[in-house]
């Protein structure tokens, strides 16, 4: 994969400190992501991976005590989640939310309309949208019936995760943050999800993929792998770092390494 090191980063995290209540969770995180790149973030439970993706998406409940989140060259700290979404940030949640009484189809349509409006595109006719959605749903191995059901309500764990990727592929963001989208997927679903992500991948897209398992990285080959421990990135490397982690765990990284990779 061609590296795009000369690109200006689409996402630039600088010395980010984030607390929940009195509890400091991110303690000086730095990360730079450019278009065309896939970054994998790994790390033990509770190290702050979801906190990081949530904070980039603007989820309320976190206090940013220090640092910056620069997206496309501007600080987004003051922006509401919907503004960030309309600028092209997408978050596939670790725990997708159920929306009683809101159908998948109308949900996606409303969201897409909001994004298209922001992009200065015209409204899609219902029929066009339905056709478009049907194709996307098929690519994710979804029965058309699932589009008529309420968002995530009664969905299996795997269906919820696939639904997140379906939303990504319909909404077509620039920066996709995928928080453990591979957790709880069976082997077939993992392939479907990986295919979705790989189809999305491209020179105009950036992906940050949070995972616990090397397995998904066999399908989605990352350009960089980062290890987040106790709110800091303690090591970055290529995809071979993931293999190392798989074999050795995180313990050896808890001591600050003498020289970073």
């Amino acid at each position: 994969m061609a590296q795009t090191n000369h690109n200006r980063p689409i996402l630039d995290i600088r010395d980010l400190h984030v607390s929940v209540g009195d509890n400091e969770i991110l303690r000086g995180m730095d990360l730079s992501v450019s278009l065309g790149e896939v970054h994998a973030i790994m790390g033990p439970n509770g190290s702050g991976k979801s906190t990081f993706t949530n904070v980039v998406a603007g989820r309320p409940g976190y206090t940013i005590t220090k640092g910056e989140i620069i997206y496309e060259g501007e600080s987004i700290l003051g922006m509401f989640p919907d503004e960030r979404a309309r600028k092209g940030i997408f978050l596939a949640l670790q725990y997708p939310v159920e929306l009683p009484g809101i159908r998948n189809r109308e949900f996606l349509r409303t969201a897409l309309e909001a994004l298209r409006e922001a992009r200065g595109e015209t409204k899609l006719a219902i029929r066009e949208f339905n056709k478009f959605l049907e194709e996307k749903a098929k690519a994710m191995d979804f029965e058309p019936d699932l589009m008529k059901r309420n968002v995530n309500e009664g969905f299996s764990g795997g269906e919820k995760k696939r639904n997140e990727i379906l939303q990504m592929s319909v909404l077509d963001p620039k920066l996709a943050l995928l928080d453990e989208t591979d957790s709880g997927l069976d082997i077939d679903a993992l392939k479907v999800v990986s295919r979705g992500v790989n189809e999305f991948r491209g020179p105009d897209k950036a992906i940050v993929l949070v995972t616990h398992y090397q397995r998904i990285l066999n399908y989605i080959k990352p350009d960089f792998v980062h290890v987040l421990i106790e709110g800091r990135i303690v090591r970055s490397g290529g995809s071979d770092l993931a293999q190392e982690l798989e074999a050795q765990g995180y313990e050896w990284l808890r001591e600050p390494p003498e020289q970073a990779a």
Binding site: F90, P96, T110, A111, L112, A114
Partner: protein
Amino acid sequence: MAAPKVISRTSTQEELASDYKWGFVTDIEADIPPKGLNEDVVRLISAKKGEPEWMTEWRLKAYRYWISEDYREPRWSKVSFPPIDYQDIHYYSAPVKKEKGPESLDEVDPELVAAFNKLGIPLAEQKALTGVAVDAVFDSVSVATTYQKQLEDLGIIFGPISEAIQKHPELVKKYLGSVVPYSDNFYATLNSAVFSDGTFAYVPPGVRCPVELMTYFRMNSEGTGQFERTLIIADKGSYVSYLEGCTAPMRKTHQLHAAVVELIALDDAEIKYSTLQNWYPGDKDGKGGVYNFVTKRGKAAGKNSKISWTQVETGSAITWKYPSCILQGDNSVGEFYSVALCNNHQQADTGTKMIHMGKNTRSTIIAKGISAGQGQNTYRGLVKIMPTAQGARNFTRCDSLLIGSKCGAHTVPYIEVRNPTAHMEHEATTSKVSDDQLFYLMQRGIKEEDAQYMIINGFCKGVFQELPFEFAMEASQLLKVSLEGTVG
């Protein structure tokens, strides 16, 4: 059968610009007798309509009952309001007709037609193609009824009750007061004495009414009470779906609305009654608005009969209403689906009564209460299983949604079981619009306000889907208008 369509209203720019979408006043000469109530006013109302003697007597009987000592407004509900001065109200106001009565739509007062057009009511013949028979009650008199011919061919009677009193006295005599007797409660008694007009419908045996019947109620004159009387009879094996819509212009003073609705379903008959109530709720400080004190009751009189109430109550300063079912026939079914919204200083005390008398009678209650601002929403329901109701079943579900922290939701279920074979289920939930749901929707690019509506709309889904399609669209639109400025 192709689904009959419902009128849908489109708003003009100026309507959309105002806070209350339907707050315009129409300048029509109104024929208003002096304020206050006495026997002479009752006789005058009756005489204005050229009513037969028996009708006048019935009204007077109600009036005399109403003035009897100690007869008062019910005090058990959770609503509060200053005492109403019943002598400060006009009890009758009819648009002045230029000549005799309008024979066709062309003869209707053009001002009135313009007003209806503003409301989007398709009085014009070509709009009858939308498939709704509209009986519009403007202030108190039914002005015109569309879609008459097709109904007549089927033997369906649909029109102003004043007309039915003239043309079908045997039906009116037999059923008027048979479900809600004149002595039922203070407001129903008042209504029985002074009702000005309302809707009458009769569907003959075995006939399935092919269109939605609809009445549009609108209050106009300042200081006028509105007292409609609606009577719907579904004869054996028939079916009818009826819709009522209500709007009132903005008024600084409170307006009294005390309607009575009676439904009768004979053997194997079904009546579906839907309401979209959007009377003026008063301003943000609680000034003005309609007092909506309504008695609605249906009797599932015959075996296998069914009465279904669906209501979306977004308007009125105070709503006091309990559409009820008396399940008399064996295997009869009663349903109540309700969305009640209270915003600003609105108060709603609403719910239903299901009285099970026949064997294997079944009832379902789905009540959704939304409170915003300082709104106080009470669900009050009674399920009563009589000793004769072997094998009766009830399912009740009450959900409350709170928006903000100054509002309140209250659930007051009464259950009275006098037959041990009864099967009862009751579920109740209270929730807030969840931050997680809001974030999820917003993360997908949806604006906060729209996200809120989607969640609220989703909350109401189980009730909205009971409404005819276009009415459901209108209902969710209404909800949005009613909540403007509250969410987001």
